[in-house]
Amino acid sequence: MGYSGFKVFWEGLRGNTGWKPVWRDPAPKPHYDVIIIGGGGHGLTTAYYLAKNHGITNVAVLERGYLGGGNVGRNTTIVRANYLLPGNSEFYSHSLKLWEGMEQELNYNTMMSQRGVLNLAHSDGQMDAFARRGNQMLIQGDDAELLDADGVRAHAPFLNFKSQRFPIRGGLLHRRGGTARHDAVAWGYARGADRMGVDLIQNCEVTGFRIENGKVRGVETSRGYIGAGKVGMAVAGRTGQVAAMAGLRLPIESHVLQAFVSEGLKPIIPGVVTFGMGHFYISQSDKGGLVFGGDLDFYNSYAARGNLPMLEHVMEAGMAMVPMIGNARMLRGWGGIMDMSMDGSPIIDRTPIDGLFLNGGWCYGGFKATPGSGWCFAHLLATGEYHKAATRFRLNRFETGHVLDEEGTGARPNKH
């Protein structure tokens, strides 16, 4: 079933009785060419591009809950390509281009809204750092504009320009950045993968690996043993736990990140505004809710909820930089578990076990990576070669010293 404006209109006339389930609910087969563990954004895009780019369709995505019930449905939906380091820069650039073609590619409205990402600067040093970052973005072929205080005022007049502690000196504006509808991204790729023959198997938890002579043969699941030629892990916050079942110890810790949303309001926030010095960022959803968040709670956690101190901190930082939000009522807050790597950058690589591949360590920023991650992970699974946009996300970079520490904070996962 293709989607179109006409279809929506027609179904409206028929009382919406013609819509059908968008993907099948297949029973697991005894064996697949490739099994992807995790039906979040990255697992679904990987399956989609395995089928689409490489013609590998005997593929299953095993999800322990329901599709899109993990972080892909819990994040604050910011999409951007404003990285500094070679390794990250080309990857997020590639991913942003895929975002720009996604709705046509999937015939699915993922509500990609490129209304810009503005990072605020409060000192000369920060302006210099942003100039450098902006130049790197331009060299990468993406867009960046360094704004002075008046430029920021024109873009976001509601900010606190009188702050003594954090006077607004300017900002870095990345106009092609923005937000997208997170659930729709999962559903769109799920539908696309299913249509090409991928089995999306929900309520199917992987509980162990069958490994013989250093090679993976398949996975034990809550729905029985399933054999596989290759297995790819894409389980986000659970990366450490799932890898441990294969005997791997990783440079990853799991941490909780909170986010908050207000009641629905008329459009007021253009795109995304980040106040990095105060650990605060804000955007507005298409429903009108102000969506905002800050830093991790800083301690290891697998509880999909945070604690009060960080909630208060985010509210205080928000009030300091965007005082008008004090008039809105906060409706909800929630937490999601992030696989924080030791250098703050992801891993897309093979593992020491033959046939077992790893996609993880996405930290704060895995939503914007969703299409690029699937594209590059599928490439590695299918061809055995690193995709040119993802050559540095190696598992051994920590030993060899080739870390990608974008923030320059060292091996402290809670600091990235």
Partner: protein, 87 residues
């Protein structure tokens, strides 16, 4: 979360700073192998359940504490002085 500091009693988590897994207290010798250092600096068990970790009572008595905490529930299980624990 409240942490029961052995010196100060139960205090709000806001008074403490988190460092990381307690293995950080077991620094290898300077001439240890690269593997031992890689293990110490980068690799973690990352358990979903009881986890030994180091907290600094920065806004209190300034002691380093070794805290066993359940990462699934945030329940604090035991707290000892990090230093005593090492000897």
């Amino acid at each position: 979360m409240r942490i029961e500091c052995p010196q100060c009693g139960a205090r709000d988590v806001r008074e403490f700073t988190y460092l990381g897994a307690a293995v950080l207290a077991d620094r290898p010798d300077a001439d240890a192998t690269t593997e031992a250092w890689q293990d110490y600096v980068h690799l973690r068990d990352n358990p979903a359940g009881p986890h030994d970790e180091l907290w600094h009572h920065a806004m209190g008595c300034s002691a380093w504490l070794r805290v066993r905490r359940n990462t699934l529930t945030h329940e604090i299980l035991t707290v000892t002085m990090a230093q005593e624990d090492r000897t």
